[in-house]
């Protein structure tokens, strides 16, 4: 179902639930994986994905169609991730590196994570990046979003995003060279 059709059906109280169910089914994986790559842990990603869709449910009526629906969903998911990670740092009085170390440990120990050595090392390299730079990298590298779309999601200029991405790639490749 096209986004436009979902929104039209959602505007009608009789077909609202059906339309929202379609929306969830259409975007759940994109949103979940976007969140999962940021918070690493499945349980956290599951909670946040549900929170994102609850916020969408509450606010979809006010969604202005001058933006794409999926960029709006990404923006909500991104904000949830950043809020979650910053509250995690505040809650445990942890500096950024300690949160990254905690997440890196999950990569080694979680039953829901598997891959060869270089792939796991890539994930640990990503955790060395600041949260916003990690977001940019994930959206460009894994989700294949255009810079213009990422710009709409993050509210950052395309030029700044390009610089951020290339710097991230450089940092990651440096990390991968290390033993």
């Amino acid at each position: 179902m096209e986004d436009k059709e979902i929104l039209e059906k959602f505007a009608n109280p009789d077909s609202r639930n059906l339309a929202f169910n379609q929306l969830v089914r259409k975007y759940q994986q994109k949103i979940y994986w976007h969140i999962r790559k940021m918070v690493i842990d499945h349980e956290d990603a599951d909670d946040l994905t549900q929170e994102v869709f609850l916020k969408v449910w509450k606010n979809l009526e006010n969604f202005r169609q001058d933006a794409q629906l999926y960029t709006w969903l990404y923006r909500i998911a991104t904000n949830e991730c950043l809020t979650f990670l910053s509250s995690k740092k505040r809650k445990f009085f942890l500096p950024i590196n300690d949160v990254a170390a905690e997440l890196a440990e999950k990569i080694d120990t979680s039953v829901n994570i598997s891959g060869d050595e270089i792939q796991l090392k890539l994930q640990k390299a990503l955790l060395k990046l600041p949260d916003k730079q990690r977001l940019v990298f994930n959206m460009k590298y894994y989700d294949d979003l255009k810079y213009e779309e990422i710009s709409e999601i993050l509210g950052t200029s395309v030029g700044a995003l390009k610089a951020s991405y290339h710097l991230a790639v450089k940092k990651i490749e440096e990390f991968l060279k290390q033993d």
Partner: protein
């Protein structure tokens, strides 16, 4: 054999998702979300939401406005009320009241001296020279030095 990665660029790496989800996770997720939406009210239309927020902020302002209004209303109505009350009192009643209750003290006459220096007219004082002389004689004030 040495499997340690050396000088690897990102473009050489296959994009592999190392994360997994429990079995049937994405089949069950929509149902779980829909269950939660059933209990979650949707946001009201924007002006309605704004009004809900403003209601709380406006409460102390309305209270303050009420106090100010009551204060000014009381302030403005008081002189009028007094004027109305005095208007219905006859001259006879005023004279009777003053005769029965008013008592003059020497300090009151001291004020008269001050008034005299201000060159107030006899009309304002509303007392004839003869009456004033009589008062001074009566209270033995002619020789009193203030």
């Amino acid at each position: 054999m040495n499997n340690k990665p050396k000088n690897i660029t990102l473009s050489e790496l296959p994009k592999h998702n190392v994360y997994q989800v429990p079995e049937d996770y994405f089949d069950r997720l929509p149902t779980r979300i829909m269950e939660r939406t059933a209990a979650a009210p949707q946001q009201a239309w924007l002006p309605a939401r704004m009004w809900q927020g403003m209601r709380v902020a406006m409460a102390p302002l309305i209270l303050l406005a009420m106090f100010v209004g009551v204060y000014y209303f009381t302030l403005e109505s008081q002189p009028d009320q007094q004027a109305i009350n005095m208007a219905v009192v006859t001259d006879t009643e005023i004279v009777d009241y003053l005769t029965a209750n008013a008592s003059l003290e020497s300090a009151d006459f001291a004020e008269l001296n001050t008034i005299q220096n201000q060159e107030l007219t006899a009309d304002f004082l509303n007392v004839s020279p003869v009456a004033a002389e009589e008062e001074l004689e009566y209270y033995h004030l002619r020789d009193t030095d203030y």
